[in-house]
């Protein structure tokens, strides 16, 4: 079995299981009810799962709420129908259709392909704008953009009657041909589930999820958010386009209303109720919402005698149930039914052991990585992809926060293999200096890495040149496991998945967190979080490691352990370290040279011993 096949085995298997589960529910239901209506309902479930899984690819992995996917669905639906219905019908419904579309007809399957291609092209253009708006997770701008475009698409569909047949008539297939394509719906769902699963495991998706969890930290690891958000969008839109085309094919008709706000809210509800970060959740949410609303539709329909329940069993009940389930699920399970539980992750280890396949390196015994001699660590933490820089210098560094001086003509010099300390009272500008060096705040002055000017470079570019950092207030990727946090950093540094796994294995041992490799970062206690952040920064194999208060919140004893770990990491990587801390004992133990900042300026430089006795330092800390 090839490495690739082994890697995606759990995803393919999970896709298969989910597909079989949905199909089984449907077939039992159709067999039980035994009428055409139940079969139509079941195909619409298949299609809805396809669409919702398609939306999950983007919304789940990027954390950006898009209202526009159904709008893309509308584009696909119209493109599909215009290529798929026969020329006689087109001549009757849209005789004035532009681009010679009236005389052009292809097999519906080919029309789906055309629709997907067209919609993805549209999405690429829209995506450029979307990712430009600096789409952070939870950011409002991309949501507004997609919502506006959904409405714009609707208006276009209503008004461009030559092409779309307008709001009332719409476009439709010859009656009676609607269900002809049902086999494609099964195929599309199976493919969508597997594609979403494989994508989820891909490098790009993992980097996109890192951006979702913390954009600032992701950029500081060298991840360029827009690239990965774009890939997620294109793949997601392609799947949604297939689903939308099938929705038109199997219902036989399209009108602007069918791909508008109601369907948007329905699909978003399905996704969020199930758990937007999980493909399994998307599937479950769709099934649950479909069952609830359809049951409501049936019991409130004309076939059921409401009797004494007339007050509730009326037309409109299914919308009430939809609304009430949105309220109920959001109060009781705000992160969705499954949160980010994923079937493939559950299946993976079980499948491997059943088939006797070697596990991933994370499953290797931790003692080995803990005990490996130093030379082994070197292998576990591969050298930087680019040759590591060995001189980081800043001079005349000034940062203004709207009139407030964050830094005032400050300077610093660090060499690889050395540890430089940065101390100073609260508000002295220590973190600002780190932010300026790593490109998170704009600064005036000169910052050079290996003699090259790096002022004004974006954080992800600086990261790729060998700057790694930690944050005072812990910016971990919370929904990712400990191991994934480290692997993402290695992947962002340009390593392959296999190398990233090896790096993670080495660092898990080195930082003493191997036994919690599979725990999600949000469940860690503070000490483990701090160690993980250190490991994540080290996984970039940086030339310089910039640490912001690595011991804050630690007891003295824990601080000693951290000092030891920083030393070992610096040793293994051969990198330079700049460390901010308030603890002079810590600084003395660790540093070769110490800079003391006060009010944005460097007031003293020297060895730890010199700094301890420096009058300006004492004054800055204790007052005159």
């Amino acid at each position: 079995m090839t490495v690739l096949a082994r890697r995606v085995l759990p995803d393919v298997a999970a896709g298969g299981v989910l597909f079989a589960a949905v199909a089984a529910i449907g077939l039992v239901y159709v067999w039980g009810a035994g009428d055409a209506a139940s079969e139509r309902l079941f195909t619409s479930l298949l299609i809805n799962v396809t669409v919702v899984v398609g939306m999950q690819i983007f919304i789940g992995n990027t954390g950006i709420l898009s209202f526009g996917h159904v709008g893309f669905g509308a584009v696909a639906g119209y493109a599909f129908v215009l290529f798929a219905i026969d020329t006689d019908r087109k001549a009757r419904l849209v005789p004035d259709a532009p681009f010679g579309l009236v005389d052009l007809t292809v097999h519906p399957a080919a029309a789906i392909a055309v629709a997907v291609a067209l919609t993805v092209a549209v999405a690429a253009v829209v995506g450029l704008g979307l990712v430009r708006s600096a789409a952070a997770s939870g950011a409002i701008a991309p949501t507004v953009i997609t919502l506006s475009l959904l409405f714009a698409t609707f208006e276009l569909a209503v008004n461009w009657t030559d092409l779309t047949g307008g709001n009332r008539a719409g476009l439709s297939f010859r009656p009676g041909t609607a269900m002809a394509g049902r086999g494609y719906a099964y195929a599309a769902l199976a493919v969508a589930l597997v594609v979403a699963g494989i994508y989820r495991r891909s490098r790009s998706a993992r980097l996109a999820r890192a951006v979702r969890e913390d954009g600032v930290a992701a950029r500081s690891l060298g991840i360029h958010p827009a690239t990965h958000q774009m890939w997620a969008l294109l793949l997601s839109v392609a799947v949604v386009a297939v689903g939308a085309s099938l929705r038109v094919w199997l219902t036989g008709t399209i009108s602007p209303e069918r791909f508008f706000i109601d369907y948007t809210l329905l699909t978003i509800t399905m996704l969020v109720v199930g758990g937007r970060n999980s493909i399994t959740g998307a599937t479950l949410g769709t099934v649950v919402i479909t069952v609830l609303t359809e049951a409501a539709r049936v019991v409130s329909g004309p076939d059921v005698d409401p009797g004494p329940f007339d007050v509730i069993l009326r037309p409109g009940l299914s919308d009430l149930v939809l609304g009430a389930s949105m309220l109920g699920f959001m109060v009781l399970r705000p992160r969705g039914l499954l949160d980010d539980w994923e079937l493939a992750d559950w299946l993976g280890p079980r499948l491997r052991s059943r088939l006797g396949l070697p596990g991933s390196p994370s499953a290797a015994p931790q003692e080995v990585t803990r005990a490996v001699p130093r030379a082994e660590h070197h292998r576990a933490v591969p050298a930087a992809v680019q040759p590591a820089p060995d001189r980081l210098a800043a001079a005349g560094l000034t940062v203004d926060f709207g009139g407030l001086r964050g830094l005032d003509n400050a300077h610093i010099l660090a060499h690889s293999g050395r540890v430089v300390g940065l101390i100073g009272p609260n508000g002295a500008g220590k973190t600002t200096m780190l932010n300026a060096i790593t490109g998170l705040v704009g600064a005036q002055g000169r910052i050079t890495l290996e003699g090259q000017d790096i002022v004004g470079l974006a954080p992800h570019r600086l990261a790729r040149r060998g700057l790694a950092r930690t944050f005072q207030n812990l910016r971990l990727f919370e929904a990712l496991t400990v191991q994934e946090n480290i692997e993402v950093a290695a992947l962002a540094g340009g390593r392959s998945s296999r190398q990233a796994e090896q790096t993670a294995a080495g660092l898990l041992g080195l930082c003493g967190i191997a036994d919690i490799a599979d725990v999600r970062a949000r469940a860690l206690d503070y000490g483990a979080s701090k160690r993980l952040e250190l490991a994540r920064a080290a996984a970039q194999a940086p030339g310089f490691l910039l640490l912001d208060e690595p011991t804050s919140g630690f007891s003295e004893l824990e601080s000693v352990i951290i000092v030891d770990q920083i030393r070992r990491i610096a040793d293994v990587l051969g990198c330079g370290v700049v460390v901010i801390d308030h603890d002079l004992a810590f600084i003395t133990n660790l540093c070769d040279r110490v800079y003391c900042l006060d009010q944005g300026s460097v007031i003293a430089v020297g060895s730890p011993a010199e700094i301890r006795t420096h009058p300006a330092v004492r004054a800055a800390y204790l007052g005159g």
Partner: protein
């Protein structure tokens, strides 16, 4: 020139309604960080109240206070039964919560009144026009602008002069600090919803006088325009919401009068594309200022 003034008045008339809704959405966003997509339900509820009361023959002048009072009560009630449960929850949860409220209210009217729209009598003077210096304006436009200005000034007075208004502004800026100063979170959040309900009630009166129509989805489009106006002005900036509403109204009217007839129906579509472009290039809205990201 005359035409321009006329269009400007039209635009401000339309924009006034947006501004009232946007301000309410901005107020509740300020204290809860939730975009209230159920804000339109206040209009829907008001519309059915107007429908019901005109059925029993109540005069429009009597209707106004009842509509406004209903809107305030509904707004506070929705906070009590729904929104308080998602305070501090994720954006997704709050969003779904507000859309859930939208669905429930809409379904309620479908189930217990009618799925189709119900018309009711509009005030008799609604189509009267007056001519001022060659500019012919509809009375209703003048009324709308006057009422809006009065309402906005009143709201401003509440926000500036009363300690509760100050507390709302304080909480919108920094909830923790407001609490530390003794502001009770329940109190400000409910005050904000009440005030938003008041503004929506006035907007509903102005809207319903023109349309004379109650439908389960009556509030959807006004809500959307209000949300977009609030976003255009920059969420959480209260003056921004007003400016955003007025700009949206004026631009819409300008587009209607300037676009060639063939694309007349596309006004809304073009407005939406413009909004999308605005947010591509100014992700924090029209009035955004350069704000350093906190790291």
């Amino acid at each position: 020139m005359v035409e321009l003034i006329q269009q400007l008045i039209d635009g401000l008339g339309l924009g006034s309604e947006y501004a009232l809704l946007a301000l309410g959405i901005g107020l509740t966003f300020g204290v809860m960080r939730m975009i209230n997509f159920a804000h339109g339900e206040l209009i829907t509820v008001s519309a059915y109240v107007a429908y019901g009361l005109t059925l029993i023959g109540l005069d429009w002048w009597m209707l106004v206070p009842v509509i406004v009072a209903t809107s305030i009560a509904t707004s506070v009630a929705l906070e009590l039964v729904a929104f308080r449960w998602v305070r501090g929850a994720s954006d997704f949860a709050m969003l779904l919560m507000s859309f859930g409220v939208h669905f429930v209210v809409q379904a309620g009217f479908v189930m217990y009144v009618s799925a189709s729209a119900r018309a009711f009598d509009r005030p008799s003077w609604i189509n009267n026009t007056v001519s001022v210096g060659g500019v012919r304006v509809e009375v209703v436009d003048v009324a709308v602008i006057a009422v809006t200005v009065a309402t906005l000034l009143g709201t401003l007075a509440i926000l500036r002069r009363t300690v509760y208004g100050m507390a709302i502004r304080a909480a919108a800026e920094d909830f923790d600090t407001a609490q530390m100063l003794g502001v009770r979170s329940n109190l400000v959040i409910r005050s904000a919803f009440a005030l938003a309900g008041l503004l929506a009630g006035v907007a509903a009166v102005l809207l319903l006088m023109r349309t004379g129509r109650a439908a389960p989805a009556a509030g959807l489009i006004p809500m959307l325009k209000g949300v977009l106006a609030a976003l255009i002005g920059g969420l959480g900036r209260l003056q921004g919401a007003v400016v955003g509403g007025l700009v949206l109204g004026v631009v819409e009217v300008q587009l209607v009068s300037r676009l060639p007839d063939e694309v007349d129906g596309m006004v809304n579509g073009i407005v939406f594309v413009l909004i999308a472009l605005l947010f591509i290039f100014r992700p924090a809205g029209m009035l955004q200022t350069a704000a350093a990201e906190r790291v």
